[in-house]
């Protein structure tokens, strides 16, 4: 299978955010993460782009993304005070969206920092 190489890739495992990683990808997995430390290498090699799960789960049952999004919006709509929590392992673009969602839902947004 063809190997694609990505230079200057960024590892998001720890706060060092090293951006000199050379990733070798083969199909739906990364086979090599040059320059990464042992933690970073495990991080890159552990994740794949395989379809291991359904798009979504509702009450533990496989569901479509559309249905899950609809249900999520309904839950947030009905809540008096929803909490949006986490934000560590996501991009800042996603964090921006999380804030917007909390604002719209009239809820609370919080991260690992508060722990």
């Amino acid at each position: 299978m063809a190997v694609t190489v990505v230079q200057n890739a960024t590892c998001t495992f720890c706060g060092c955010v090293c951006d000199d990683i050379e990733l070798h990808a083969e199909g739906d997995r990364i086979v090599k993460a040059k320059n990464a430390c042992s933690l970073g290498e495990a991080w890159f090699l552990h994740h794949t782009a395989e379809r291991l799960y359904p798009d979504a789960l509702i009450d533990g049952q496989p569901a479509s993304l559309d249905a899950a999004v609809e249900r999520a919006a309904e839950i947030l709509d009905r809540a008096d005070l929803p909490l949006i929590y986490g934000l560590s392992n996501i991009t800042s673009e996603a964090q921006r969206e999380a804030v917007f969602l909390a604002e719209l839902a009239g809820g609370i947004v919080d991260s690992h920092t508060s722990l």
Partner: protein
Amino acid sequence: MGRAMLRIQGGKVYDPVHGLDGVRRDVCVADGRIVADVSGGRVIDATGMVVLPGGVDIHTHIAGAAINFAREMIPEDHRRAVALTRTPVRRAGIGGVTPSTFATGYMYASMGWTTIFEAAVPVLTAKHTHEELRDTPIVDKGCYLLIGNNEIVMDLLEAEDYERARHVVAWLVWAAKAYGLKAVNPGGVAAWKWGQNVKGLFEPVPGYQRVTPARLIAALAQIAEDLSLPHPLHLHCNQLGLPGNFATTLETMKLLEGRRAHLAHLQFHAYGGEDWSTFRSEAPRIAEYLNDHPNLTADAGAILFGDTVTVTADGPWQYLLYQLTGHKWGNMDIENETGCGIVPYAYRERSLVNAVQWAVGLELLLLVQDPWRIFLTTDHPNGGAFWRYPEIIRLLMDADYRRERLKALSPKVLKRIVLPDIDREYTLSEIVIITSAGPARALGLSQKGHLGVGADADIVIYDEHPDPGRMFGRPRYVIKAGEVVVEDGEIQKTVSGREFIVRPAYDETIEAFLQPLFEHYYTVSFANYPVELERIHSAEVYSWEEAVRQ
């Protein structure tokens, strides 16, 4: 385009670029620009109102790592700040002296300002600045690259390789997706990396033999000219804030003879005296020099009494301010490029130094005769928050009010300032010049600061009111790119503004020179250093050959 047409009729138009001084005439808008005439569309009856081009802020700190550090340092201010409640057309936010990004856009627009320039951006964190600018709605914007303490550039000047320094600077402007060049305490911030500062303009920067602040200032002003940047070198002089610093400022201005430059927040650089106890105004001497030298423009950096937070790349000054005040201190040195310091501060009427500072800002605005060369700023938030500009406008337009305010100052202060002797009152046209037409011209933004055909339809309409502070505090309408965004002081619609970026000419092989140095001095990959153009939403790029609209 199909954007709504608009006619503003019956208002008194102030458009100094076209010599209109309160002339009653219609202003017509189509597709976001001023046009000669329209048939149909919305009509705004501006009878009893004044019609002005939208404000342009040439120097403010509203986006990026430094102001965001300041936000972190003063949660106590946020708690007492104006709260911006979410509405269907407006994001939530907080005001105060470091408004959140959404609030910044709304608050500028609700005051009638439609174009703003973030004055201090390192390349290394420029992605962050642009992300914040993206979240600053309504206004058009741009930013200046911090270059006065860039060690790669300083090393090249040490080696007397001006040519290569110029290419590096041009490459860095484009890497940062910046609009202009900014130098802060040239050499002094680099010295602060070892806990030092520079002494005077002519002693070498610590660690260098040939590079002095004077050499840096001259070279960077020349580079800005050689690169044909639309805005000249934007200079925060050495010795900011210190008694007697007017001498350094005068020397700096002399160095700049024959070259264009913009002097930032001049108020902080116009002090006499030997120490804090003999602190006094030297605004007349600074203003006199500026009056005689049309190569220079300046912004006021006026201060207003009250609480604020100081935010500047001038690391050594901020450390001194921390020692003087005993307040909180934040510091953030950026590898190879610049620094940043944060100190909360309160300007008090009873403080001799603060009272003199208050007078100096107004004195400069009143003593510089040509309004096209001095602009209204508070160096937000350093001298006071931008949303307090209407207070300054009132002080400039109303000499009786000024005298009233002077009564609150101690007689000791009055001997150290000249403000009591100044009777000048700004006309409304002159206010339009120092808040819009002048800064637009200094920025090289030909589509801003006026209401001529082809200009961006950034228009502000005020109810005429005898108190200019009240008039400017609450516009009746604000129109941005042809859209009515504010009515009766309230946001009606959120549009997103554009970002102005300059792509100066450079030899592409400069990257081969930079990369090995970069790998030695930096901790990010060279490929990940420049801001990607795709990151900028609604970029308007001025290339060295022609303006390319994206």
